[in-house]
C-alpha cells in the first residue's frame, strides 16, 4: 500500500519527471537482451500502448463526464476502416489517413451525441452499445464498401521520411509517440476550463447547468474527442496490422477497454494507463507462464496437472479480474476528491494521500527550520 501511495504522490507532484521516466523506460525496452523473444515482447508492448491510447480515449466519457459508454469499439472500427480504405483504395499516405480517420470518427461521435444527450445511466449505455453494434454490422455487411468478412488485406506500411516501417520496434516507437500526443492532449483538456466543466457535469449535471455550463456543448465535445482518439488508434492499428477484419471490432473490445479504465481508476489518466499495462499483457503472460508450467510438470512428472491447463488462460484472467476489483474496488489509481466515486474505498485512499502529503510537507518544513 505504501509503495503505491509513494508512487502516486511522486507522479502527482512531478508529472514531468514521471513522464520522462516512463518514456525512458519504454524507449529502452526494445534494446533489452531478450534473444528470440524480443519481437514478441515488443509486439505485446505495442499492443499495450495501443490499449493505453484507447483507454485514455474512452476515459473522456465515463471518466470525465460520468456516462457509461459501451460502444467505444464503434469509433475504433470507423477509424481503422477509414484509414485502411483510404490507404488501400486511394493509395493515400498513412499520415493523411490518420487525421482523416480521427476526424471521421469524431464526426460520428458528434452525430451520436444528438440522440444521447438527454439520456443517463444505463439508457445511455445501451444506446451507445446499440450504436456501435450497428456500426460493426455495417462494416460486416456492406461488401461494396468494406469487403465485409473478406477483410482488407495488403494495407501498406506507414512511410517515415521515405522509409517504410518494417520492424516491430519501429511500430512500438510510433505508438509511443501517438500515446505521448494523446496523453498530452488529455492532460491539457483535463486542466482546462472544459475539463472543469466536464467534472462539474459528472458530479451534478443540474448544478452544473445552473452554474452556466453549456451541457450539450460540453458533452458533445467529450464524445468527439473520445471518438477521435479511438479513430486515431484504429488508424494506427490498420497501419500496424496491414489487415482489417470485422471480427477485430467485437463488443468484447468495448468491454475490455472499459475493464482497463475501471481497474486502473476511472478519471485518472495515469490510472487508466496502468490498467492497460496490467490487463493487456496478462493473457500473454498467462500463455507463456502456463506453457512453462506444463513443461515443468512434464519434466518433474507431476501428472495430476493436465496439459490442458494452457487453455485455462481466460479462466484465470476472469478470476484475477474479480480478485483485483475486490482488493481495489475504486481502481488502482482512484480519482480522489470527487463525489461521483465518493465511497469508503476512495475515502480511505484520499485520507492516506492527505496524511502522506502532510507528513511530507512537515518534513520539508522542518528542514526549512533547521
Amino acid at each position: 500500500m505504501q509503495g503505491g501511495l509513494k508512487l502516486r504522490v511522486f507522479i502527482e507532484e512531478h508529472p514531468r519527471s514521471a513522464a520522462a521516466l516512463f518514456l525512458a523506460a519504454a524507449a529502452l525496452l526494445p534494446w533489452l537482451p531478450m534473444g528470440g523473444a524480443t519481437d514478441y515482447v515488443v509486439r505485446v508492448a505495442t499492443l499495450t500502448l495501443l490499449y493505453m491510447v484507447l483507454a485514455v480515449g474512452l476515459n473522456f466519457v465515463p471518466g470525465f463526464t460520468g456516462l457509461l459508454d459501451l460502444g467505444f469499439v464503434g469509433f475504433y472500427g470507423v477509424g481503422a476502416y477509414t484509414a485502411g480504405l483510404l490507404m488501400v483504395q486511394y493509395n493515400l499516405s498513412f499520415w493523411i489517413a490518420l487525421p482523416a480517420a480521427a476526424l471521421h470518427s469524431a464526426l460520428w461521435g458528434i452525430l451520436r451525441a444528438a440522440p444521447t444527450l438527454r439520456l443517463t445511466g444505463d439508457y445511455f449505455a445501451i444506446v451507445t452499445f446499440g450504436f456501435s453494434e450497428l456500426v460493426v454490422l455495417v462494416i460486416r455487411n456492406e461488401l461494396w464498401l468494406t469487403r465485409g468478412p473478406m477483410g482488407i488485406p495488403g494495407i501498406e506500411a506507414p512511410m517515415l521520411f521515405g522509409y517504410a516501417l518494417n520492424r516491430d520496434w519501429e511500430y512500438f516507437y510510433l505508438m509511443l509517440a501517438l500515446l505521448f500526443a494523446v496523453v498530452g492532449i488529455s492532460r491539457r483538456l483535463e486542466d482546462s476550463r472544459v475539463g472543469r466543466a466536464w467534472f462539474a457535469i459528472r458530479e451534478d449535471e443540474i448544478a452544473a447547468e445552473a452554474c452556466g455550463i453549456h451541457i450539450a456543448r460540453h458533452k458533445t465535445l467529450a464524445f468527439a474527442v473520445s471518438a477521435a482518439i479511438g479513430g486515431a488508434a484504429g488508424a494506427f492499428y490498420a497501419g500496424w496490422f496491414h489487415f482489417l477484419h470485422p471480427d477485430m471490432f467485437k463488443f468484447w473490445e468495448s468491454i475490455l477497454v472499459l475493464c482497463l479504465i475501471v481497474l486502473g481508476g476511472m478519471g485518472s489518466i495515469t490510472g487508466v494507463m496502468l490498467g492497460a499495462a496490467i490487463l493487456i499483457p496478462l493473457t500473454e503472460v498467462l500463455r507463456v507462464g502456463l506453457g512453462r508450467l506444463v513443461e515443468w510438470t512434464e519434466q518433474t512428472g507431476l501428472d495430476w496437472i493436465s496439459p490442458d491447463i494452457v487453455n485455462a488462460r481466460y479462466l484465470i484472467f476472469g478470476l484475477l479480474l474479480v480478485i483485483m476489483m475486490r482488493v481495489r474496488p475504486a481502481g488502482l489509481f482512484p480519482t480522489v476528491g470527487v463525489t461521483f466515486e465518493m465511497h469508503p474505498a476512495c475515502e480511505r485512499t484520499r485520507r492516506q494521500l492527505d496524511e502522506n502529503r502532510y507528513a511530507h510537507e512537515t518534513r520539508e518544513n522542518r528542514h526549512a527550520l533547521d
Binding site: A37, D39, L47, T48
Partner: protein
Amino acid sequence: MRKFASAATWICLFLGLSSLVWAESDIKLPVASPFTGQLATFGEGVKNGAELKASEINAAGGINGRSIAISLEDELCDPKEATNVATRLAGDQQVSIVIGHLCSSASLAALPIYRKAKLPAISPASTNPQLGKSSPYYFRNVYKDDFQGAFLARYISEALGWKKVAIFFETNDYSMGLKSAFVEEARKQKVRIVGEEAYTSETTDFTPQLSKFRMLRPDAIFIPGYAPQGTLIISQARKLGLNVGFYGADGLDDEIMLGNPDAEGLLVTTPFLPDGAGPEASGFIEAYRKRFGKEPNWFAANTYDAVGIAARAIEKVGTDREKIREYLASMNSPERGYHGITGLTVFDENGDCLKAAFVKTIRKGQWVSAEKQIK
C-alpha cells in the same frame, strides 16, 4: 499494493519465463488454432488430429530419432491474438514450421509476420481464396472456397437434378466465398437461386429466415456454413414442416450431425470418405475413435495430414525454415505430393492445394458416401 509494480514486473516475468529453454531433443511443432472461446469447438478437431499424428510418429521412432512435441497455441480466432502467437513463434528459432491457423481472418492477420520471419505455415482449415497468393510461406492442405462452391453447384445439377435452390449463409468469409462461387457456377448450370438469407455465428433462432424459405418452395436449401449452426437450421426447418433436401460444404461435416435425427439424408462435400477411403484412412478413423471416443471431422483429418506433411518435410530437409519452404513448394506434382488420409495433397504455385472432393450423406445416423460421385 504490489500490483502496482506495473508493466516493469510483467516484462521481467516475460524475460524470465522466455529465457528457459525447450528440451533439446524434441522437434517443436506449434499448432495455432482457437482452443478456447466461441470457436473452440473447431479447435477440438485440430488438437485431436495433431496429437494423434504426433503420437503415431513418435511411437514409430520419431523423425530421424527425434520425437515431435506438439505445442498448442490458442488464439481464439482473434486476429490480435493470432499476431501475438505468430510473432512469438517467429522469434523462436526452434520453430521451423507452424500448423495453422484455422480461421481465415486469423491466417490473414498472421501472414505478414510469417512472411517477414520466413517461417512456413500449413493451414489445415483456412479456405479464403486470397490466402495463398499473399505469401510464398503460406501453404494449406484444404481446398479453397471457390473450388468447393463450384463443385457443389455442379453436383446438385449433374447428380441430383435439383433446379430450385435457396441459400442460407453465414456472414463470414468462408460461407460467403462458397456462396459466390456456387452462385456463379449455378448460373452456368441453369440452377435457379430462389432466395438468399444470412445469419451470424451468434444466431440460434433461424425460424424467420426458414419461414420465408418455406414460402419460396425450393427443391433444396444450401447451407455453406458450419455444423453448430447447420444442425440447428436443419432441426428448426423440420419443425416448421420444411421438407426439402439439405446440403452443405465441408463445414457441415461434423459428428454432431449424426446425433441429429433430422439430418438424415444431408449431403456434404468432404475431402475424405470414411467408407471409401484407403486402409490408411480407416486406420485413422479407428485410432481416432479409440483415443477420443468420437468420430473424426475434417478439421481433425486435415490437421492429421498437415502434421504428416510437416513431419515429412523435416525428415527430408531438416529444420531449416527456408529449406522446408522450398521442399513444400516442390510438392507440385502427383509424384512429389503427399498421400495422406485425405487423399493426395499437391501444392500449386500459390501454396494452395489441389484435392479431390467427395460427397457423403447420412444414412441411419452414419456417414456413408453418396451413390453418385462426380469428377
